[in-house]
């Protein structure tokens, strides 16, 4: 219990000191996870939209698979990406293993199903409201998807947030494909794992607190955007 109080003190001291290593790690965490979230949205939102408005054979099977993939274990994703990016793997020639790019790829794969499955639900609910009006206007499928994505944009922010939360908190995938290399691929979670394995539990917990505060900040920013939108009945 003593180490919890110590950890809080240490966390505050770390932040106040503006430690260069800490800043580097925090920035890399944000860069990797925010990029992965953006990519996951670019891939996952159209998939979610297509499934939301589509009526096709095997749709319920697709829904089950999409929902199940939300629970992809990070270690498995990390391993798969490792096997592909390894020098002896099919994409080894790219030389991406142990780079931030590899970490972005792994996290993108990890959270794209989350973005797709959650956005599918959001867009399907909105489509239930708009469908008849859109058919009356003879919108094409592409126009329908564009309109749904735009009108659900504030709800989809929350979907993106769920993906970001998962990405920034996971350690299993990035430690395998990133290698936790100091000053290159070390992010908050792998740093926490490292300090834990060194038995420096107070520092590990302090880093955890910093991570939590960052996640809180991102959430608060999104929430304030949503509240502004809600006042205009855009949510």
């Amino acid at each position: 219990m003593q180490s919890i109080g110590e950890a809080f003190g240490l966390a505050i001291a770390l932040v106040l000191s503006g430690d260069a290593d800490l800043i580097e790690i925090v920035l890399l965490s944000l860069r990797v996870s925010l990029t992965a979230t953006a990519l996951a949205c670019v891939i996952g939102l159209p998939i979610g939209a297509l499934v939301a408005i589509g009526r096709f054979w095997g749709r319920s099977a697709v829904l089950i698979v999409m929902n199940a993939l939300m629970g992809l274990p990070p270690v498995v994703v990390g391993l798969l990406v490792y096997l592909y990016l390894s020098r002896s793997g099919p994409l080894g020639f790219l030389g991406l293993l142990y780079t931030p790019t590899a970490m972005i790829i792994a996290q993108t794969i990890l959270i794209t199903p989350i973005v797709a499955a959650l956005s599918r639900q959001v867009l399907e609910d909105l489509h239930a409201e708009y469908a008849e009006q859109f058919r009356s206007l003879c919108l094409t499928r592409l126009q329908t998807i564009q309109a749904l994505l735009w009108d659900a944009r504030y709800s989809l922010l929350t979907v993106g947030l769920a993906g970001f939360g998962r990405a920034v908190a996971e350690v299993g995938a990035v430690i395998i494909v990133g290698g936790n290399i100091d000053h290159l691929t070390r992010v908050m979670t792998t740093a926490i794992a490292l300090e834990t394995s060194k038995g420096d539990l107070a520092l590990a917990l302090a880093l955890g607190i910093v991570l939590l505060v960052i996640a809180l900040g991102v959430n608060a920013a999104v929430q304030s955007v949503r509240m502004t939108a809600a006042r205009q009945a855009y949510v």
């Binding site: 409201e129 708009y130 009356s136 206007l137 205009q232 009945a233």
Partner: protein, 251 residues
């Protein structure tokens, strides 16, 4: 509210170049939901101009008939024959205003802009259209914060933005205050004057008297009568219509 010059962009129907959609022929139209027959063998002929009021008690199938005519639903059997070269494209040449307007989560102007862009139309007419429905001063405001009357005027403006040849209205003024009702009616009348064919579902007998050229009275999934408004209101032929106009419960 209206300004004739502001409407210059709205084409008169003669200018479209298509073969006209009307007259409309409906033959032996049947709609079933499982065991229930909700529309039972309708036959209907509608002429090229004017405002047809569809009336009838709740559950008589008025809204379903409108959706069938607009192509949002398929009948179980029977035929709906619009004129024109490509009947399957009839929906695109019509517009429907729902009882509860479905407004996008955007500004007033963006709700219309969206339709103009979707139909690849010149967006230059947007301001005139908003002016026409009295919403120019609210163009930048969120559409879903409009009052009921304003929201319905916006829905109407959006329908008109598609330059429809036929305008369906499904109880658009139910639950609106009298001034809002009159504002809607004025816009609809102007559209009719430009040659837009109006097909209007209403429960408001006063409104029907003000606007109808002819009346289709539906009862229990059948057309109880279809005649000119001048004949219908003084002396309806069917007992159901008589009871309905007298405010008695009709099932």
């Amino acid at each position: 509210m209206s300004d004739a010059t502001a409407l210059m962009h709205l084409q008169t129907r003669a200018a479209t170049g298509h073969a006209p959609l009307l007259p409309l022929k409906v033959r032996d139209l049947v709609l079933r939901f499982g065991e229930a027959t909700v529309l039972d063998g309708l036959n209907l002929d509608l002429g090229p101009t004017g405002c047809t009021m569809i009336m009838g008690p709740n559950g008589s199938g008025k809204s379903l008939l409108l959706k069938l005519l607009h192509g949002l639903m398929q009948p179980s059997s029977g035929r709906i024959e619009w004129g024109g070269d490509a009947p399957e494209q009839a929906t695109a040449r019509q517009a429907l205003v729902f009882q509860k307007p479905v407004l996008l989560r955007r500004s007033v102007a963006a709700n219309i802009d969206f339709v103009l862009k979707a139909r690849a139309k010149d967006t230059g007419g947007l301001d005139a259209l908003l002016e026409h429905v009295g919403l120019a001063h609210k163009a930048r405001q969120p559409a879903r914060l409009l009052s009921g009357g304003e929201a319905q005027r916006l829905a109407l403006a959006r329908a008109l933005a598609t330059d429809p040849e036929v305008l369906f209205l499904d109880e658009p003024t139910a639950s609106l205050d009298p001034a809002s009702v009159l504002a809607i009616e004025e816009i609809v009348n102007e559209a009719r004057a430009r040659g837009v064919r109006i097909i209007f579902v209403t429960h408001d007998i006063g409104q029907a008297r003000r606007m109808a050229d002819d009346v289709v009275f539906l009862h229990r999934g059948r057309i109880a009568e279809h005649c000119a408004a001048a004949e219908f209101f003084p002396e309806p032929r069917s007992a159901a219509a008589r009871d309905y106009l007298n405010g008695r419960i009709v099932v």
